[in-house]
Symmetry: C2
Amino acid sequence: MKQEITQQLTGSASIAFTKPVYVISCASVVGKKEGEGPLGNDFDLICEDPMFGSDTWEAAESTMQKEAAALSIGKAGLAPSDIRMAFAGDLLAQTSASSFGIAGMGIPFYGLFGACSTMGESLSLAAMSVAAGYGDHILCATSSHFASAEKEFRFPLGYGNQRPLSATWTVTGSGACVIGNKPPSEKIPGKTAPLLVKNGCVKVTGITTGKLVDYGLKDSLNMGACMAPAACDTIYQNLCDFDRKPSDYDRILTGDLGVVGKRILLDLLNEKGIGIEKQHQDCGLLIYDGETQDTHSGGSGCGCAAAVLAAYILPRIASGEWKRILFVPTGALLSKTSFNEGEPIPGIAHGVVLEHMEV
Amino acid sequence: MKQEITQQLTGSASIAFTKPVYVISCASVVGKKEGEGPLGNDFDLICEDPMFGSDTWEAAESTMQKEAAALSIGKAGLAPSDIRMAFAGDLLAQTSASSFGIAGMGIPFYGLFGACSTMGESLSLAAMSVAAGYGDHILCATSSHFASAEKEFRFPLGYGNQRPLSATWTVTGSGACVIGNKPPSEKIPGKTAPLLVKNGCVKVTGITTGKLVDYGLKDSLNMGACMAPAACDTIYQNLCDFDRKPSDYDRILTGDLGVVGKRILLDLLNEKGIGIEKQHQDCGLLIYDGETQDTHSGGSGCGCAAAVLAAYILPRIASGEWKRILFVPTGALLSKTSFNEGEPIPGIAHGVVLEHMEV
């Protein structure tokens, strides 16, 4: 199969896709707490059992991730064998949730690690691959699980340790998308559910690749502060590279900055003379009710941005409620080893431009 | 900058690049033990200090990785600001060697995890990006460090634990390459050292993306056995997708199967009626002298395939001693958590076709 494509390199860290890249389908799977939150009705699947029928927290996360991927592939009316390659990652050491999750689906697989920015990295590489003609259908997915993340980064749940108000709550959730080079279509009416609202769909029109930004912060219970400078850098870079104003986007959605990180992001951008107060939303603030759910600064984790993207963001773009948005998942690059050795917590954020299109 | 490209999708998991993709430069940095091995004279830098002047094993690995990247960029006559994006990863939890290594160089960064197959993943994504016109110069690199890996996956070095003969020795080393869309050229004669032997250089002409292969093996001290089935799958897929015989390659080089894994790979391929005895070499068997260096089954780690690629493989292709080779780094997807929870150790291997070209 031969395919002609044209790329436009924009500025110093962005790519504008001149060949169409579509989000064919998307799916989200979350846990009980997320299901009780403001987006409860928007998720495809809410599992009451935090173990997702498995024996360990890690296996639970892998099961949830595979379920989200299978749902997304099914909604597109495809089989795993129709997927040319998959880009996936998670927060666990050696991304084991993905190694024992999506990697096991028999799809040519590229494992990623971008901490909580991984959905942005996954979407970026999938869109780059589709636009370049490397595949008709490419899968991207990420996941996180509150219990596997607490075990990986903090304390055994049994300790019931205190959490400061700056701490975020790792989302138990997974989001997956199938990216393709043709607009979504109802393969089997009634049986499939591509990302199509009336005649509206979602195009990936550009990306801005994140750079590591390190302000020397070391508090793993204030990840929002660690990631905000990276979100600022990527948003600013995106506006410069594409020569846009914040008002050129209906929304600018960060991944999991939470209350603290959001405030810092807005301040940092204001220092550059840029106001995104009107456009900005944070997936970590959308997924939980901060008043009643005791999640302190908000939600976090790879699964936060991914599940909110699939459940809340993409449908609003497809429907035309939003014409163009900038999706900016944010990651805090730490491990318990680097943290315990006194290293700072650098941040990275990957930007993806998503636009409404009538088919 | 606009660019026209044409891709050829080959078979079910491979891509043949019809636009030229060149290895502009490469560099390797290793530790004392690797410097004492058969390839000692081929490495760019051998550091006698296992700490690489740092305070921790992890920081040592990050320092070594940054050094390899800086050397490679410098040999190409470029500055980090000339690099459009970087693809890098390592074995540590949350790929922290890369987060505190190459990610800190201010280059738009995509973090990867493919265990010891990461150099294949990194080269594949860099070549895909260059061929698609996403950048003129893209960096790929990986690293591993014996001490940081033993700490991450096995026992504190102080224990002096026994190692079975099937165990491999994690290479303290890093390899980096700059991939570009124009042949390498002497930017500043005498000052730069691009990958150019007389008029010969190296092209990346194709890739085969690996799938996870799980035979249910659980012995983390016999990684060769865990990875051999994946190497078999990728090599077989590559030969089918490109319609080639083993003799169409001057060499088929796996990453770190070692003595045990090599034997299993040859047996598995023989069962499929394919003999690669004449072409096969393993980076893990090339880097140490098994007789005198007490490395048991051979070398392993992300840095093994990467350092041997930069020091031994690429120069032989550039010189024309080898016209076409298949580079197949192999990864064992385990974490200490999944291992301790009794999960198997699946393998994955990514194939990259490298060819000699006269400029």
